[in-house]
């Protein structure tokens, strides 16, 4: 009886169709050869993907997004590794409070963070700068990096480190040669997840981006507010393809279910 009946299978099919429909429609419309929104019934064309390359604003926003994602994920990882090691293996006063603080950006609506950063950066003269974007993104993606590194450093075998220490390795050597390689899957997946979250963020970034320094989702959002044409479908399709690519890598390396649910595959 532990098998799905026909009604359950139909429900499942409809549910998956509901989830996939808008994504597939965007990808289909992106390949239209026409100058207006339509499905590519006369065969696919790359016309609108080429048009992205001719739009310097989208190209620059795309480059800025990639750089922003890479820089802020790297900083987030660098901050999260020592914090995760402290939380995972030390009992100390304020440990729970520190962990709650590091995870708190998950609880604050991004619209509130956007407003808070806009106010803060305008006051200290970082308004509309790339530095401001990096700093704010580090805050919102750090919880994702921290969770994965925390899980990796909690599960690892400590006796190898103790062996390294007893054989005379310094703390730094032991970290570099023993600890880091052991938690590397968590660190790498944390970096990718942080990158995806930075790359996709729009609600907070729309407040702190300036016309000169902006991200691709923000540029896309502002464009869609004015008009919807095949160009935005092509940009969206590009974003979807990139995410699916990153997702497949993550699924191979770490397991998507483990990544999102936070437990093993079995």
């Amino acid at each position: 009886m532990n098998r799905n009946g026909p009604i359950a299978l139909i429900f499942n099919a409809l549910f998956l169709a509901f989830l996939l429909a808008p994504i597939l429609v965007v990808c289909a419309v992106a390949f239209t050869p026409d100058g207006y929104l339509s499905l590519p019934t006369k065969g696919p064309s790359l016309r609108w993907f080429k048009a992205i390359g001719d739009n310097p604003e989208f190209v620059r926003a795309f480059k800025d997004s990639l750089l922003l994602g890479a820089v802020s994920s790297t900083i987030a990882i660098a901050v999260a590794i020592p914090a995760a090691l402290a939380i995972a293996r030390h009992q100390f006063f304020g440990r729970e409070a520190i962990q709650a603080l590091f995870l708190s950006p998950l609880m604050v609506p991004h619209i509130v963070l956007g407003i808070a950063f806009l106010r803060f950066f305008t006051q200290i003269g970082l308004g509309g700068t790339f530095t401001g974007l990096v700093l704010s993104h580090v805050i919102i993606i750090l919880p994702f990096a921290l969770r994965l590194i925390l899980a990796a450093s909690t599960g690892m075998d400590r006796s190898i480190e103790n062996a390294a220490a007893s054989l005379g390795a310094s703390a730094w050597t032991s970290f570099r040669r023993v600890t880091l390689p052991l938690i590397l899957p968590g660190v790498a997946s944390g970096w990718v997840l942080a990158f995806i979250n930075s790359f996709d963020e729009v609600t907070m970034t729309v407040f702190i981006a300036s016309p000169e320094t902006t991200t691709l989702p923000v540029r896309l959002f502002l464009y869609i507010q004015d008009n919807i044409d095949p160009l935005v479908a092509a940009v969206s399709a590009l974003l979807i393809f990139m995410t699916v690519g990153a997702m497949l890598v993550l699924d191979r390396v770490y397991g998507l279910e483990r990544l999102l649910v936070g437990r093993g595959r079995d």
């Binding site: 009886m1 532990n2 799905n4 499942n12 549910f15 989830l19 808008p22 994504i23 597939l24 429609v25 901050v79 999260a80 020592p82 914090a83 402290a86 995972a88 293996r89 030390h90 440990r95 603080l101 590091f102 995870l103 998950l106 609880m107 609506p109 991004h110 619209i111 509130v112 407003i115 808070a116 106010r119 805050i139 969770r147 925390l150 899980a151 909690t154 480190e161 220490a165 007893s166 703390a171 970290f175 600890t179 996709d200 729009v202 609600t203 407040f207 989702p217 896309l220 959002f221 869609i224 507010q225 919807i228 479908a233 969206s236 979807i240 995410t243 699916v244 699924d251 649910v261 936070g262």
Partner: protein, 316 residues
């Protein structure tokens, strides 16, 4: 915001196994035994970053909400609760907040009705299908909200596929107006947030031993009795904590209501955005933001407490 509150349970497991010596310290010093600076030094970069870049900006926003604004003079340095009084008194703001919570409640209900059965169906699937379906369900979480909402704008337009399909089937004579309506926003937001519900129910189903179901069946219970008496009580906490996540995210959603709802159908988040970037009344925008933050904290912390107390035995 992704996966917001599910981590509370998974990180609790880290509290054990931390009593032995810190490997990063020189061997003779055993940090488990006495006071040590090591954990504080390790978390110092993060603490400094969060103090300056999270607590200070939020505090400044709270202070900004007490300032006043005049069209010619800009932001005035006064410290009063005038903006809060204005929002409490003005029926326009009532309407916006009411609409926000109405949409959030509907989205939560739909997510529970769709997500909980889907999680149960997923769990009963066999190996290759289960992984594939789970990938399709969870994958959209990682795709940009703007892309996903654009898909709905394409589907729901007056000449979109949904209306074309409905008219071809003869179900409606004229295209239904989805764009710039609450119905459209609810559909698109349900799509954006339902994976969180599946995740949450899925996590609670992991604790359910399939043998218990088999035992009930072998003792003569019908499938519907098993569902009602065995499965449902186990997944109710999952549905409730999923509902908290979905409601909080729906109430503060921005990009989807902005694109599907347009400029006229305002919710709290798009209202704050307009006050900041169009009207330039920053103090009022900050007030809306602070109210949204407070509502969020009350819902998340308050409901989590309630759920955990009511279903204590399930969480242990």
């Amino acid at each position: 915001m992704k996966g917001g509150m599910t981590m509370a349970a998974s990180t609790d497991a880290t509290t054990s196994t931390t009593t032995d010596a810190a490997p990063s310290a020189p061997p003779p010093v055993r940090t488990g035994a006495g006071w040590s600076w090591t954990p504080y030094l390790l978390s110092l970069p993060g603490l400094a970053l969060f103090a300056v870049l999270l607590l200070v900006p939020l505090l400044m926003t709270a202070l900004l909400s007490l300032n006043s604004f005049s069209f010619y003079g800009g932001i005035q340095d006064v410290w009063r609760f005038d903006n809060y009084a204005e929002i409490l008194a003005d029926s326009y703001f009532h309407e916006v907040f009411l609409r926000t919570f109405r949409i959030a409640a509907l989205v939560t209900l739909l997510c529970a009705l769709l997500g909980a059965p889907q999680a149960y169906i997923l769990r009963r699937m066999k190996a290759p299908w289960r992984g594939l379906c789970l990938l399709i369900v969870l994958g959209p979480l990682l795709i940009s909200v703007v892309s996903r909402t654009l898909g709905w704008a394409l589907l729901l337009g007056s000449t979109g596929l949904v209306n074309q399909g409905l008219m071809a089937l003869g179900l409606v004579a004229e295209p239904i107006e989805f764009m710039y309506t609450e119905t459209g926003v609810v559909i698109a937001l349900t799509h954006v947030l339902v994976p969180f519900m599946v995740l949450s129910v899925w996590a609670s189903l992991q604790r359910l031993d399939p043998q218990v179901e088999n035992a009930a069946l072998s003792l003569g219970a019908g499938p519907s009795t098993v569902l009602r008496r065995i499965v449902l009580p186990q997944i109710v906490p999952g549905i409730l904590s999923g509902s908290i996540i979905v409601f909080a995210l729906a109430a503060s959603a921005f990009a989807t209501p902005a694109i599907i709802g347009g400029r006229r159908l305002k919710v709290a988040a798009t209202l704050a955005y307009d006050e900041f970037l169009n009207t330039l009344n920053w103090p009022l925008g900050a007030t809306v933001a602070i109210l949204l933050l407070l509502a969020n904290i009350v819902i998340i912390v308050g409901c989590n407490r309630l759920v955990e107390r009511r279903y204590k035995q399930v969480f242990e």
